[in-house]
């Protein structure tokens, strides 16, 4: 199973429709400070169901919507779609590919979609249960996580073992 495509529109610093095609193997994402690399990570977390605004570095969920630049007005909504190849049949459904989408509007309403069909967050969580996807501590690691993984407060560490079990 691997990520094959990420499509972003209106999410954080990506106002226009942006498509990123991934392959298996090792990809590196590079660029100057503040150009949007970690925002791509936020987009992947968000479309997979991240509910905590602080993990996305905001105070409220609507702060992920592009809030304007010098030349562009703020966006009215944010949408991210992630396509996953099911090449090892790890996912429990009969698709070769699965596309998960999430939208949010300025008024806070939003929806999730599975291959274009509206669904609940629960459907996405169930789809990925036991695959190692969705427990973000397991799939995403950043500098600040080193301290928390090693800290006296062992609960984050504990959660990883439960994910692996």
């Amino acid at each position: 199973m691997y990520l094959s495509e990420l499509e972003i529109i209106g999410f954080k610093s990506f106002p226009k429709k942006t498509r990123l095609v991934f392959k298996a193997g090792v990809s590196a994402i590079v660029g100057p400070n503040g150009c949007g690399k970690t925002n791509l990570v936020d987009a992947i977390r968000w479309v997979l169901g991240e509910q905590r605004p602080t993990v996305l570095r905001g105070e409220r969920m609507d702060q992920v919507i592009f809030n304007g630049s010098m030349d562009q007005k703020p966006a009215g909504m944010s949408e991210v779609s992630l396509t996953i190849e099911n090449n090892k049949n790890i996912l429990p459904i009969e698709y070769q590919q699965v596309t998960i989408s999430r939208r949010v509007y300025r008024d806070g309403t939003g929806e999730y979609l599975l291959n274009g069909i509206p669904c609940r967050l629960k459907d996405i969580v169930d789809l990925f249960s036991d695959t190692g996807v969705g427990a973000f501590a397991y799939s995403v690691m950043e500098q600040s996580m080193v301290e928390s993984l090693l800290s006296e407060n062992a609960w984050e560490r504990r959660a990883l073992f439960e994910e692996a079990a």
Binding site: L3, F22, V26, I29, K37, V133, V140, E142, R158
Partner: protein, 157 residues
């Protein structure tokens, strides 16, 4: 659930010792499950002793050593149950050149079951990648992907 947890814990523990040994070229490490009435409540303690050094608390390790211990733990878990994709956001920043190469070698050994997406400012990490994506902000405040992707060809003499 308790037996499954204990079994998983033992596997991760063994892997942790082995991955640690690769990253630290020796030394010792261990994971200890605190004795509690309920193993589902007990804390997991980490011990790490780099080669040639005496055992100290984790906090006394250096910035780069701590990063390697965290990486060893993550990969020890992946050896039990791989994550299909793994996103690493500048985790290579505190590593010196030698440790960076060991880290990159470890990453490549895991690509059979895990797709890696590594955000980095480090040239050596960029060299090790199969594909490179550049992100820029030509228009201020607006991100754009510049597909700097090259897919490595074998080097012809």
């Amino acid at each position: 659930a308790k037996d499954l947890f204990l079994e998983t814990f033992q596997k991760v523990r063994g892997n942790f010792q082995s991955v640690f040994g690769q990253l630290f070229e020796g030394g010792e490490a261990d994971l200890i499950l605190e004795e509690m009435l309920d193993p589902l409540e007990s804390k997991i303690e980490i011990f790490a002793r780099p080669r040639g050094k005496r055992l100290l608390t984790l906090s006394q390790l250096s910035g780069g050593e701590k990063a390697l211990v965290a990486i060893a733990l993550l990969f020890a878990l992946y050896l039990v149950k791989p994550s299909p994709f793994c996103i690493l956001d500048e985790v290579d920043a505190p590593l010196d050149d030698m440790n960076l190469q060991r880290f990159l070698t470890l990453v490549k050994n895991f690509t059979a079951n895990t797709q890696f997406i590594i955000i980095t400012h480090n040239k050596q990490t960029m060299d090790a990648a199969d594909i490179l994506y550049g992100v820029t902000m030509e228009e201020p405040g607006v991100s754009k992907i510049v597909s700097v992707k090259f897919e490595k060809e074998p080097v012809l003499a």
